[in-house]
């Protein structure tokens, strides 16, 4: 073997497996070859390590492991390194992102299917309906009784509604929605989220303890579970809450609003707008010359001059129509002489108008934008108000006013009809 090839024997040197002949050749060559000597001196570290029997056993055990175990250990070793950990971390984050994305996608599909089902007037598929604890519901007989109470002969029920104090929102069941939409309302009640209940509590808690609130009338499915009109008027319910409510109503599934919101992009979310609300009352002059706020029923029976006092919770445009018998409505405010279709009103600034004596009912319209031209027939239709609109008669000692609001902040218009002969409003 040539001397330059003796380096090949270095492996045997460290493992101490050289034959006597190989060993002699190697060492003799190292004495005359500095490079080989250096290589042998460097190899001494490994030789010392392998001279330990315990280390040898350990290495032999590692080398004797089956390829499968070796491969697994090799993978573990790779994962233990920094790049390996980075890859593993990235992969885990990716998997979580995919799972979350799928979950949000499924939620949005579920929401869409429920929404479609509700629009068709049928309950959503049980498999897709959210699992929630059903609310306390009266037996069918009780509901029938309530329904009959809700539609009593004209003249008796409103009085009951006005004189019967209600401290809980459940009393609002006395005016159920139409049959077609009732199932949807019940479904909405079933899916009432904790947030909505909290908002109700908030609305109640913000009122004075001695406040005796009468629910005068409500309409639409939002009325059954909606917030207090008075609270909406005074902005006692946070706008964000109201905004969420509107989204819930749009989705027809209030229980999973938060998850649904995750799946929506920011631009889709409407900006938070204060819900449109108004307060109105009637003012009469007593015999002693003092003015006093009264409700519609008292105003209708008063023989003197009755003034309608109207106030909005934000800058808006107002129209007041008068209707007598079966005749077409007549615009009272703004007056014809002004040539305007809308009267601009500032937030918290009351507008007063004397109610003509021969008026059966008044139609009040409030809008964020100026009203356009409208026919008198159309005025009749608009007076019916929109679904989801809530009204509330507050009968505090010093306050005999009615609050009307639409919890949906996207609603641009509010309309109501004030009957003066039946002492009810809607």
């Amino acid at each position: 073997m040539a001397e330059h090839e003796l380096e090949k024997l270095l492996g045997g040197f460290s493992a101490d497996t050289l034959t006597a002949e190989e060993r002699e050749q190697l060492y003799a060559a190292a004495l005359h070859d500095q490079q080989l000597f250096n290589a042998l001196a460097d190899e001494q570290a490994l030789k010392d390590l392998l001279a330990d029997p315990a280390v040898r056993r350990k290495l032999l055990h590692a080398l004797a492991q089956p390829p499968g175990a070796r491969g697994w250990r090799s993978w573990l070793d790779r994962f233990a390194s920094r790049p390996g950990l980075a890859w593993v971390g990235g992969a885990v984050v990716g998997v979580f992102a995919v799972i979350l994305g799928l979950n949000v996608y499924q939620q949005s599909l579920r929401q869409a299917s429920e929404s479609a089902a509700l629009e068709e007037g049928r309950p959503p598929d049980e498999s897709t309906a959210p699992q929630s604890t059903p609310p306390m519901q009266a037996p069918p007989e009780d509901r029938e009784a309530k329904r009959s109470k809700a539609a009593p002969p004209v003249g008796s029920a409103p009085k009951d509604a006005l004189t019967k104090p209600l401290n809980t929102r459940e009393r609002t069941d006395v005016s159920p929605p139409p049959e077609g939409s009732r199932s949807g309302v019940e479904q909405g009640e079933k899916r009432e989220p904790p947030r909505q209940k909290e908002a109700q509590k908030l609305a109640k808690s913000t009122e004075e303890p001695e406040l005796d609130v009468h629910i005068h009338a409500q309409s639409g499915e939002g009325a059954a579970t909606g917030p207090s009109a008075r609270a909406l008027f005074y902005g006692q319910i946070p706008a964000s809450e109201v905004d969420v409510r509107a989204q819930e109503k749009e989705a027809k599934s209030a229980q999973k609003t938060d998850r649904f919101a995750l799946g929506r992009t920011a631009p889709e979310r409407p900006s938070v707008v204060k819900p449109l609300a108004l307060r109105y009352s009637f003012v009469i002059r007593e015999s002693n010359g003092q003015e006093r706020e009264v409700d519609a029923s008292t105003a209708a029976t008063d023989a003197g001059t009755v003034t309608l006092k109207l106030e909005s919770n934000q800058d808006a445009y107002v129209q007041i129509w008068r209707r007598a018998g079966d005749s077409l409505p007549e615009l009272l405010l703004p007056a014809k002489e002004t040539g305007h279709m809308s009267l601009k009103t500032a937030a918290g600034q009351p507008q007063q108008m004397t109610v003509p004596g021969a008026s059966d009912r008044l139609i009040v319209r409030l809008s964020r934008v100026p009203f356009g031209p409208i026919t008198r027939q159309e005025a009749v239709m608009t007076g019916r108000g929109s679904s989801g609109q809530v009204a509330e008669l507050s009968s505090i000692t010093a306050e005999q006013a009615t609050y009307v609001a639409n919890p949906d902040p996207s609603a641009t218009e509010l309309a109501l009809e004030i009957p003066l002969n039946t002492r009810t409003t809607r």
């Binding site: 073997m1 090839e5 380096e7 090949k8 024997l9 270095l10 492996g11 045997g12 040197f13 460290s14 493992a15 101490d16 497996t17 050289l18 034959t19 006597a20 190989e22 060993r23 002699e24 060492y27 003799a28 190292a30 004495l31 005359h32 500095q34 000597f37 250096n38 042998l40 001196a41 460097d42 190899e43 001494q44 570290a45 490994l46 030789k47 010392d48 390590l49 392998l50 330990d52 280390v55 040898r56 350990k58 290495l59 032999l60 590692a62 080398l63 004797a64 390829p67 070796r70 250990r73 090799s74 070793d77």
Partner: protein, 165 residues
């Protein structure tokens, strides 16, 4: 070769090797210490195949010792004497830790080798000589085994970071 001529050659090789790794003065001191030890303590070792590996072993210990002394003297970085641990007859915790880490690195490197290299190392660790390994691997030329071993060792050293230390 007689013992004196072997020691003379060893002196030359050791001095050249040490000079590559430390200063000339230190290398001369270190060479002198190795030869003094071989002469005083291992005077009975005369055979080339025993004397040369013994010289390598003593040289390595002397170099490690010089490295530790330099550390203690603060030649690399200043360190308070109070912070240094007391000397013990056993291997210091640092040495034990160093050896354990080297074994772990070696095991990890061995695990990344191919089947042939792993087989080769296994037989070497079992104490089999190159001719025996030649038979086990069914090779007609011993040089093939030498070449394979050289390549496998280079691969292993590269996997360990270029040094056995």
């Amino acid at each position: 070769m007689d013992r004196d001529s072997i020691l003379a050659s060893l002196r030359e090789r050791i001095l050249a090797f040490a000079t590559l790794r430390t200063s000339k003065e230190q290398a001369e001191d270190m060479t002198q210490e190795v030869l003094f030890l071989l002469h005083e303590k291992y005077a009975h070792v005369t055979d080339l195949t025993d004397l040369v590996p013994l010289a390598f072993q003593v040289l390595r210990y002397k170099m490690l010792d010089a490295h530790r002394k330099a550390l203690r003297r603060g030649e690399y970085n200043q360190e308070s004497v109070d912070d240094l641990s007391l000397a013990t007859p056993d291997a210091s915790p640092e040495t034990q830790l160093d050896q354990r880490q080297r074994v772990e690195r070696l095991m990890a490197a061995l695990a990344q080798l191919g089947v042939r290299c792993r087989e080769l190392f296994r037989w070497k660790l079992e104490g089999k000589s190159f001719p025996q390994i030649q038979t086990l691997m069914g090779q007609t030329s011993i040089n093939t085994i030498y070449t394979w071993d050289l390549r496998c060792r280079k691969q292993l050293m590269a996997l360990m970071g270029g040094s056995w230390e």
